[in-house]
């Protein structure tokens, strides 16, 4: 952190373009995310939010453009190496390791994490997994099969598993979809507590009050293009955003 130059962004996305056949899912997206920033990503269904997340996390390769993370061009890297560099995500539809318990789900992350040298023995890793579960509020479920979890517990388990990889950037892809109002607040509080100096969070969400409360900045996508980016209140007031959402 040299005094003169502005701090380098944690994540930089440069003219990112992704097409599926003739369909342009992402069209020259440019955005930068700061270290520790809470960033909301909104847009109508099919606007490219999840595609963008997939390009950041490595599940998809963009056709054009680059993803730079912590100063390193990670565009050619597979998802597991991006995870090792500090990008973690949850999924729109939860994807637990179904044959495992909650604790074992987290152990997968810890077993393969590059910060694993901190937890050399299996019992160290187990302790680390338990402390994450305690923080997330899932400790009583540690030995439960993932198939027995409720929807909100599954969402929390995914966040816990993502945290176990030791992320610098956590992407939450609609972690609140299908939850009751009280559960939404629960998960939102959790996300707010997870973020901080060290962990930037990108939150994809349709629930506006959650986005407004959570985000320092919001970006709105429509048909693969950025139509607005800035403080939440400003973006919500933007006529193009309202048009995209209300379809007028």
């Amino acid at each position: 952190m040299t005094g003169s130059a502005p701090e380098a962004p944690l994540l930089r996305i440069d003219t990112l373009t992704k097409t599926f056949g003739g369909f342009v899912a992402l069209d020259h997206i440019n955005v930068e995310i700061r270290k520790g920033e809470r960033f909301g990503l909104i847009g109508p269904n099919g606007s490219g939010k999840t595609t963008l997340v997939n390009c950041i996390s490595g599940a998809l390769r963009p056709n054009k453009g680059a993803v730079t993370f912590a100063g390193e061009n990670i565009t050619p890297l597979p998802a597991n190496q991006r995870s090792h560099r500090g990008i973690a995500r949850s999924f729109q539809i939860p994807r637990p390791f179904r044959s495992m318990t909650v604790l074992e789900n987290l152990m997968v992350a810890l077993d393969f994490a590059t910060h694993g040298h901190l937890f050399e023995t299996a019992s160290h890793r187990r302790d680390a997994a338990m402390s994450i579960l305690t923080r997330i509020g899932l400790a009583p479920k540690a030995q439960s099969a993932t198939t027995s979890l409720t929807q909100v517990e599954l969402r929390k388990m995914e966040l816990a598993r993502a945290m176990a990889t030791g992320p610098k950037l956590l992407i939450s892809d609609e972690a609140m979809a299908g939850l009751s109002t009280s559960e939404v607040d629960e998960v939102l509080d959790l996300l707010l507590s997870l973020g901080g100096e060290d962990i930037a969070i990108i939150m994809i969400e349709h629930i506006m009050q959650a986005v407004m409360r959570f985000s320092e900045r919001v970006m709105c996508l429509d048909a693969g293009k950025v139509i607005a980016i800035g403080p939440p209140s400003e973006v919500m007031a933007n006529p193009r955003v309202q048009e995209a959402y209300l379809g007028t």
Binding site: A59, A79, N80, Q81, S83, A88, F97, S99, M107, V108
Partner: protein, 317 residues
């Protein structure tokens, strides 16, 4: 060492000693002739489970690996009169290389596409061997057994013991993988490959490792078959029956644990040996099919799944 480990190693030692004593005290050769086949299927099934069970990649090309093992042995015996141990070791290396090649070519495919690709690999290799005169071509090749090594009094008994050693090696490897980080990674990618990738699991590397190890063990298990039959031809060495039997044995036993394929192979291979003698060698294929259907419908997690269901709420064996 944990108690379960002590029990395991003790069991392995007792098994080998018992097998060795059998070869010393039982005169009749037939039990060894039949027992060899059962042990061979245990090796193949345990090896298959490393990729097919732990990682969930159903390999239909067991016959390719088996045949490569057989023909590596044939080639070494023909060209250098190499001893059995060298035949098995080189076969393992060839199997590993084949596993690497097959893995690189096919492991980016998922589900049924991977399985079809493995069948294709088997056909390609079989065709190549069929047209290779030096190892007998389509007609096959007769092999001369070298003199038997002490303390065994017949070659079949020796092969039986060698196969028993391979059983222990295969189980030790499978058990080690199962209890290691690699095992957990394979289970994770079997459950959900994308989620595993995004959780930091190097899925392609783990699948390749599983394919290489599984291939090496399968080819090693196939290598002694050349001397066992004193004959090899492409039709029998690359017979699709190996793939189907091994698949059935692993699935019937249960694929999440190394015990599953052992149980499945012992049960099915014994039944097959019994039926071959008492009824006919065609009927045993039928029985295999019927049992596979029964298990897939009634006990999708195999014998191991059944046992742990009845043994209370044992979630994990």
């Amino acid at each position: 060492m944990q108690r379960s480990s002590i029990v395991f190693w003790l069991g392995a030692a007792i098994f080998l000693v018992a097998m060795l004593l059998m070869t010393q005290f039982i005169r009749n050769e037939y039990p060894f002739f039949a027992g060899y086949v059962i042990l061979q299927y245990v090796v193949l099934s345990v090896a298959w489970t490393i990729l097919g069970g732990y990682a969930g990649y159903v390999n239909f090309g067991t016959n390719a690996f088996f045949g490569v093992g057989v023909y590596t042995a044939v080639l070494l015996a023909q060209a250098f009169s190499a001893p059995l141990s060298i035949q098995i070791l080189v076969a393992a290396v060839m199997g590993a290389l084949l596993g690497l090649g097959v893995g690189l070519l096919t492991l980016r495919m998922r589900g049924i596409f991977f399985s079809i690709a493995t069948i294709a690999v088997a056909i390609v290799i079989e065709t190549a061997v069929t047209n290779w005169r030096y190892v007998g071509g389509a007609a096959g090749i007769q092999l001369q057994r070298p003199p038997v090594t002490e303390p065994f009094d017949s070659y079949v008994k020796m092969l039986f013991f060698v196969q028993a050693v391979l059983v222990v090696v295969a189980i030790v490897v499978a058990r080690f993988i199962q209890n290691s980080r690699m095992g957990r990674g394979l289970h994770a990618l079997r459950d959900d490959e994308l989620a595993a990738e995004c959780t930091g699991v190097p899925t392609l590397r783990l699948k390749l490792m599983a394919c290489v190890i599984s291939g090496a063990l399968m080819s090693a298990g196939g290598a002694p078959a050349a001397m066992y039959l004193q004959f090899a031809n492409p039709d029998s060495a690359f017979n699709l029956n190996y793939s189907v039997s091994v698949l059935a044995m692993s699935l019937i036993g249960g694929t999440a644990n190394w015990i599953g394929p052992v149980l499945g192979a012992v049960l099915l291979a014994s039944t097959q040996q019994f039926l071959t003698v008492t009824i006919s060698s065609e009927v045993n294929v039928l029985v295999l099919g019927v049992m596979l259907v029964l298990f897939v419908v009634a006990a999708p997690k195999g014998i191991v799944g059944l046992v742990s269901r009845f043994a209370g709420k044992g979630k994990h064996a």
